[in-house]
């Protein structure tokens, strides 16, 4: 057992650092530093650079466009992109529906959709939750009824992240009302430009338009766009939920977050010293670092331990719970650090408005981010549900 990088790993790390330094767009960096809301094009510019390089989908099998990296190389990659504060890649295609398609899809589905996910040509969204089906996802009521070579889909989805940009959506729909809840669900790929689809924004507490309601009214979907067997969609859903949870620990991003909090606390003045010299504040930063180390080594054990390669198990719930709690504490500490300047509400730069936001640059997104990140203990299976999973699947209760 050791935790040293080999000479090859170190060379790879240098290669990654050089690539990011040479290729990361300066104007995107500037927008990120200003804390501006990102447009669809902003999200895609880095995606396209990585696609051109062949590094867009490190987790995918090589035959579908993966990089063939070792787990250590993938770890280095996520560390380095977070360290350089690269914009987050949208997970809906790359981390969610992509793996479902290459695992369960038909040859035609793979040939059509996978290259378009890799290139960024198609933006995907996720049609899972419904107003009455959150934690109890299997109670979903959106229906798909066969009509020749099509399904006709009716219902309402909610919390659909960035659906306003989406070309395609993957949806869980009920195809058998009489079967047991989880046995009557199918997994459909739906063209978001289909007649009968309405996307309505939901504005969240920080003022962001990040999530949406999606209404489906007599939407025709070719049967050819169903992934896996009819009424077996829950298998895809479970696979995907486990997949979604693996990256959710967010270790690398939280490391970067701690550095940002420290930078703020070195700038903010408390009396005649930097805030970071305040014993109470410093202790909270230190506690976060300790907890993050525990999370990191728990994740590394699951990546490189005896069970590595078997795919994420129920222990990934631990990573989700601890990872989300750390992300939230980070935002809480940032808000605390900025003091009075957490209160001004900066609505982004309007057309032709070059007036500087109120207070220091690092302050004006502190409160909205704190509000927004309350979602992390709710989405992807709430932390209550994750604890149920651990109780049942790990502890056998």
């Amino acid at each position: 057992m050791d935790m040293e990088f080999s000479p090859e790993d170190l060379a790879f790390q240098q290669e990654v650092r050089d690539f990011i330094a040479e290729n990361y767009p300066a104007d995107l960096r500037e927008k990120q530093d200003e804390g501006e809301e990102m447009s669809k094009e902003d999200f895609l510019v880095w995606h396209k650079i990585l696609h051109k390089k062949g590094w867009i989908a490190p987790a995918w099998p090589v035959e579908y466009g993966g990089t063939g990296w070792t787990p250590t190389q993938r770890f280095i990659w996520s560390e380095e992109t977070a360290r350089a504060d690269c914009i987050r890649l949208m997970p809906f295609g790359l981390a969610m529906v992509g793996p479902v398609i290459y695992t369960f899809g038909t040859p035609e589905q793979k040939a059509h959709f996978l290259p378009r996910i890799l290139s960024g040509e198609d933006w995907w969204c996720q049609g899972y939750s419904e107003p009455g089906s959150g934690s109890d996802l299997a109670s979903l009521r959106t229906t798909a009824v066969r009509d020749g070579d099509d399904y006709i889909v009716n219902g309402q989805k909610t919390w659909t992240t960035l659906a306003q940009h989406a070309d395609w959506g993957f949806f869980l729909v009920r195809t058998d009302k009489d079967a047991k809840q989880q046995e009557g669900i199918s997994f459909l790929l739906i063209d978001m430009k289909s007649p009968g689809i309405t996307v309505r924004p939901i504005i969240t507490l920080g003022g962001e338009h990040e999530v949406n309601e999606v209404w489906l009214e007599d939407v025709r979907v070719p049967v050819a766009n169903r992934v896996y067997e009819e009424n077996k969609g829950w298998t895809c859903a479970k696979f995907l939920l486990a997949h979604e949870r693996t990256g959710i620990a967010g270790v690398a991003a939280s490391k970067r977050g701690i550095e940002k909090v420290k930078a703020i606390a070195r700038t903010e003045v408390d009396g005649n010293k930097p805030l970071l010299a305040n014993a109470f504040f410093k202790r909270k930063v230190a506690e976060l670092e300790v907890d993050l180390a525990a999370l990191e080594f728990t994740e590394l054990r699951s990546l490189a331990g005896p069970n590595a390669g078997r795919g994420p198990g129920p222990e990934s719930s631990l990573l989700k719970i601890k990872g989300s709690e750390i992300q939230q504490r980070l935002t809480e500490l940032s808000l605390e650090a900025v003091g009075h300047y957490g209160a001004p509400y900066f609505r982004g730069f309007g057309e032709g408005d070059n007036e500087h936001p109120i207070g220091p640059d690092y302050a004006h997104r502190a409160a909205p981010t704190y509000f927004n990140m309350r979602k992390t203990t709710i989405y992807g299976g709430s932390n209550e549900i994750q604890r149920n999973i651990i109780a049942k699947m790990v502890l056998g209760l």
Binding site: T158, F281, H340, Y345, G359, F371, R374, I378, E384
Partner: protein
Amino acid sequence: MDFTYTETQDMIRDTLARFLSDTYDFDTRQKFINSDSGRDPAIWTALAQELGMLGAPFAEVHGGLGGGALENAIVMEELGKVIGIEPYLPTVVIAGGALKAVGGAQADAIIPEIIAGNVIVAFAYAEPQGRYDLANLRTTAKKDGAGYVLNGHKGVVYAAPWATHLLVTARTGGGTRDREGVSLFLIEANLPGIVRRDYPTVDGSRASEIYFENVAIPGDALLGGEGTGLPLVEQIVDEATVAVCAEATGVMQKLHEGTLEYTQQRKQFGVPIAKFQVLQHRMVDMFMEVEQARSMTIMGVLKLDLPANERMAAVSAAKAKVARGANFVGQNAIQTHGGIGITQELAIGHYFKRATMIESQFGSHDYHMDRYERLVLAD
């Protein structure tokens, strides 16, 4: 010992609660906080002239109801229950408190105008470098003939866009963090040389950055002694801190009630989610925080008249406890609501935002624990 309210105090609460339930429902509030001015001035006028509410803590000789800090707490708790943005805190509690403390001609002139609803005061005390230290001031007031000339920058001055007057802390002497040399001034808000940048706040109010550029102010704007104003500032901020604890109690009570109600309606796995024991215990913990916030507010009110050190220790204990409670109740109200709690659509998220801002208003949990330790646990 007696923890009951007088008939007048019950009357103040009931009258105000009835008025707010008629005029301050969530949708109406959202409409006016999103309007250009960010408020409905008719509500302030009605609070003054129909309800007489702005006279709650003032002496009858000034036209008030003869109350004090407890009456302020009652009003603030009711405002908290509707996440009210009315400038009662800076105008009545803070400026009113300062005027009551100094008395004399200034009090006789301004207090009746506050009670009548003609005067709105914003409290310009915080500075970008100062955090919660009331003596950390770079704003200066230089003697100039009979008056003063004011220069400096005050940050995040709540209610300033609506204010007719500003209550300003400034240095007439001493270095940036000295206890000596602090003075308190009540000035008109539209004097030449006052520059404002107005903005909305994350909790639904309005505030400003205020820049004083060689602002000439009259000598009688000074409240209390020149250069010896810090004890007065500490006293009125302690009164304000307790008032904010009272507001927090109202906010927290509504967060708790809203969560109880939601969990009894929301069904998952075939039952109301209130049936799950993990959520029941969480809501019990929230309930206990609300009760303790109420207790600490009352303790703070009752100890405001003690000698300064005892008063400050009590107020810090109250604020530290309430800050933690507001954090816990707010976060758990959102968590228990799930996704819908994070949207602008339900009131619950807006209560959470106010609860979050209250946590650090007039000093964070750490600030007040530190002050408490220095006062109570010093060797």
